[in-house]
Amino acid sequence: MSSIQISSPSVKESYKYTSISRLWPGLGGQNGTAHHSESPIALSLTHLARAVSEILKHLSDPLLQFSLLPHNISKIQSIGGLDAFQNFPEHLSLEGPQQIYHYQLLSTQSHSNFFNLLVRSTLSQPAIVNLYAVIDPGKNVEIQLDCVSQQAFPLTVNVVFVVLEGGHLHVNQVLRGCGLMRCNIFVILHGEGSQSHFNGVVLSGQETHHDLALEVRHLARETRSLQKVRILGWDASVSAFGGKIFVAPQAPLSEAYLEARSLALSEESFIYGRPFLEIYTDNVRCSHGYTTGSLDENALHYLRCRAIPEQIARQLLIQAFVKDIFPSSAVNTYPQYLISILENHICNAVA
C-alpha cells in the first residue's frame, strides 16, 4: 500500500513482546507472540526505520514531504516545525465506537521554540495509531503522550520522532488502561547535536498487558539522549519494556543513558525489562540499567513513624517512585497534567 509496511514481529525481534496467550488464548501464535489476522499487528522497527529513512530522504523538499506518505495518512498537526500524522491501516475498520483524540496545547508563556502536543488515544476497538513527528533544526519540542486503552481491545501505538540538527525533543509518556497495549517508540537523532529526553511510565493493573519498546538511534555527531522509564505492576498484570540504544559509526562524541526501574506491587504481576546497547563508535558515553523490586519496606516504616497512615504512605512512595523521573523544575508545567493522572491512578489503585 505504501512505503510503510505492516508486519508481525519477526522471530528475531520477538524480544520486544511477551506472551499474551494468557490474556487472549485465541491470539497466541507460535513462539508465544501475538499474531492474528484480525488483531492489530505491530509495525516492526525495521519497517519503521525504512519508512523513516524514506521520510528523511525527502525532507529537504517540502513538496515531496507529503507525497511519500501513505495516502491514507491524514496530517493532523503542523505547528512551527512539528509535523504529526496519523495513519490507519487499510484493513482496519474505523466504524464503530472508536475514538482518537489529539490535543494540542500551546504553552501560555510560550516562546517561539517551545511546543506542547498532547496526544491521547482512546479506542474501544482493536486499532493501531501511528504518529510521526519531525523536529526541525534548532526547535525545542516538548510532547506529552498519554496512551490509554479504554476497553479490553488491543491497541498498538507507534511513534516515530526524527530530530534534526540541534533540535531538542522532550517526551513524557504514560501508558495506562485495560487490555493489551503495545507501544513502539522510535527516536532518531538524525542531526548533529540533536537531543532527546524520554520519560515513560507504564501503569499496569488487573489483567492488562503493556509492552513498551523504545529505540533511540544516534546517527550523528554529538547527539545526546536520556531515557527514564518506570513501570508499576499491580494485580495480575504483565508489563514488558525493551529499551535499545543504537550509536552509529558516524555518531562520535555522543551520550546516551537509559535507566529503567520497575515496581512489582503484587505477587502475581509480571514485569520484564531488557535494556540493550549497540555501539559502533569510540568516544561515546553510554550507560544502561534495569532494576526491579518491590516497595521499600524501610521507607514505608519511616513514613509511618511520622504518623502517616499506611495507605497514604504507600501512595506517597509509589508516586515518588514515578515522579522521580520528572525534574523538579517541571512541576507546575505540562508534565503536571501527566503527574496528576499518575497521582489519581496511584490513589485509586492503593485505595
Partner: protein, 259 residues
Amino acid sequence: MIPIEQKPLLEIRNLTAGVESKPILRGLNLTIYAGETHVVMGQNGSGKSTLSYVLAGKPDYVVMEGEIWFKGKNLLEMSPEARAGEGLFLAFQYPIEIPGLSMGTFLKTAVNEVRAYRGLPSLDARTFLALQREKLAELGLSSDIMGRSVNEGFSGGEKKKNEILQMAMLDPDLAILDETDSGLDLDAIKQVTAGILKMKNSQRAFLIITHYPQIVEYLQPDKVHIMINGRIEYSGGIELAALLEKEGYEYFKLQSYQN
C-alpha cells in the same frame, strides 16, 4: 513538685524481642517519666537500635515476651502511625532516603497527620511555613532542602539535623534519638543539643542513645543506662557515664558476670 502518684510515660517490662526467632533484647526493663531525659549507652551490637525499632513498631521486629505501656496504653497493640500520633518519635540512626518525595510534601503531610490524630485542624500554609522557617534557622539548615527529595543526597550531618527538624515539627511526648549526635561536626552538635534542650519541658521525655560521654555532659540527663547484651544492666546518674569513660565496657561486663 512531682505529684506522688505520677504514672510513667513509658514502661517497658521484661521485654524479649528480636528478628525472626532470634532474641536480641533479653528481658529489658525501663521506666521513663514525663520531663525526664534518659541516656542509653552500650557497645556496638548490644541492641540499642533494636530497642528503638521495637518502640517504633518496625514490622520485622518481633516481641516474644514482655509488655510496653505508653501513656497508660498498650504500645504493642498500636500501628507505627498510631504510636507517632500518640506522641512517640524516633530519630533514626540511619535516616531513609526517598527519591521523588519532596521534603515539603513529606513534612506537611506528617505534621497534619499528627494534628489530625490529636484532633487538631491542619495548619494553614502560612503558619506551617513560619514554623518551618523558624526550625530550619535554629538548626542552621537551608530552606532549599524543602524542595529536595527526603534525605536524598543529604550529607550525614544534614540527615541527622533533618531528624531533629522533624522532631521539632511533630512535637512529641517521647523522643527517642538513636545516635543523632554521630557524624556531626562540632557546631552541628551544639545546634542539635541546643534543639533538644530547647524542647525539654515537664511534659516531654527524651531517650537518647549515644556513644559520647560529652553528650551526657551537654544534656545533663536524669538517668544514664548501660546496655549489655540486650539488657539494661546498669542505671545511674551522670557519674555512670564518667565511670564508663574511665573503665570501658569490659569492666561493666565483668561486673555483670560476677553478679
